[in-house]
Amino acid sequence: MKIAISVTAPEQNASFEPRFGRAAAFVLVDTHSGEQQALANPAAQFGGGAGIRAAEFLVRQGIDAAISGAFGPKACGVLRTSGVRLYRAESGKPDALVAGLLNGDLAEQEHGE
């Protein structure tokens, strides 16, 4: 499973960023291979539609799940249409958040908020 986590900087151990569309970067974790990458969010500075573009960017990366503070209705529409499952968190480093998701500790978001 490939999981994206919204973070404050394009670094593998960056801090969690609760905003999704305007997060500075995303850490992508592949739970099978253990591979991690940090990617800058191309939509971070957009005036409008940042959630849509960030979601589209992550879908192209082939993610199966995303962890953020909350997903707005438009980002949620793009991600869920693409079969991506959405999980909410409050804080933590990417590794701990992925472990939390796998343990079933994170709440799943079904609709845009």
Binding site: F46, I52, E56, V78, G83
Partner: protein
């Protein structure tokens, strides 16, 4: 001649001034009154028009034919407003972000995008008992695109050459105001002699200066506050064309939907003189 009545600050008396201007001219001249404050149109409260026709103000937005779509993503790439996303085998359109520019349809190599009208608001047309042609636009609740409603309101009632057009603008200095006033021959900025009135008058004057529109000032509730609006107008070379005093009788009458010139007929002559002065300046 097209006269726009604008303000910057809300609640200064734009509609009070605009409606009385229309009523002062109407007995002898042809007048077209457009209420362009589409988020809160209320000139009808003072003019009491009979509405004879209504139609939708619309924006063209994309509808994607999934059978023809090649999923190339070009529509999303060219969209400056991020209103389209192409993910997997789906094209998602977000109408609330779409400005209706048509770039997606123009750039679609598959002929899969059809532009379809979506209603943004209602345009209402009619006339008053004094013979003023009247039209107003009302943006639907939940819609944010005031500009197409304003532009369609202005387009759909072309004025004849001998008709004076009065545009009642929204408050503020953003796009809906610019759209209302940009083709006016003259802008009347209504203000009040308070720090709030002065602050927003300066902003509104920046806008009319940027648009290179001849501008004059009406000071409403004259006698309250201080002299700084007058000082600013003198420094900026802005003519003060009319003063309406702070008057309990006027306030009470307008609160009951009675126009200024009905309450105080002496303003008819003053308003007509104002228009004559504008005609000299702007034509």
């Amino acid at each position: 001649m097209i006269i726009a009545v604008a303000s910057g600050k809300g609640g200064t008396g734009k509609t009070t001034a605009a409606t009385s201007l229309a009523l002062s001219l109407a007995p002898e001249q042809r007048v077209l009154f457009l209420d362009c404050d589409v988020e809160a149109p209320n000139a009808h409260v003072l003019l009491h028009p009979t509405i004879t026709q209504k139609k939708d103000a619309t924006i063209l937005q994309p509808v994607v034919d999934a059978d023809r779509c090649g999923m190339c993503g070009m529509c999303a790439e060219v969209c400056q407003y991020n209103a389209i996303a192409v993910v997997g085998q789906r094209v998602l359109v977000f109408p609330e972000l779409c400005h209706g520019c048509g770039s997606c349809a123009l750039n679609c190599a598959w002929g899969a995008i059809r532009e379809t009208p979506h209603s943004l608001g209602t345009l209402a047309y009619g006339h008053t008992s004094e013979g003023i042609r009247f039209a107003s636009g009302t943006l639907h609740v939940g819609q944010s695109w005031a500009i197409p409603v304003i532009s369609q309101l202005k387009e759909s009632l072309p004025a004849s050459a001998d008709e004076t057009v009065i545009l009642d603008a929204p408050p503020g200095t953003s796009c809906p105001v610019a759209e209302t006033i940009r083709d006016a021959d003259f802008v009347l900025l209504v203000t009040e002699p308070t720090p709030f009135g002065l602050h927003d008058l300066k902003l509104a004057f920046e806008l009319t200066s940027e648009l290179e529109l001849p501008t004059g000032v009406i000071i409403n509730r004259d006698g309250i506050g201080d002299a700084r609006v007058d000082d600013f107008c003198a420094q900026a070379g802005l003519p003060v064309l009319l003063r309406i005093p702070m008057d309990r009788e006027i306030a009470a009458g307008i609160a009951q939907g009675i126009p200024l010139v009905t309450l105080k007929p002496a303003y008819r002559a003053q308003l007509k003189e104002t228009v004559l002065a504008l005609a000299e300046v702007s034509l």
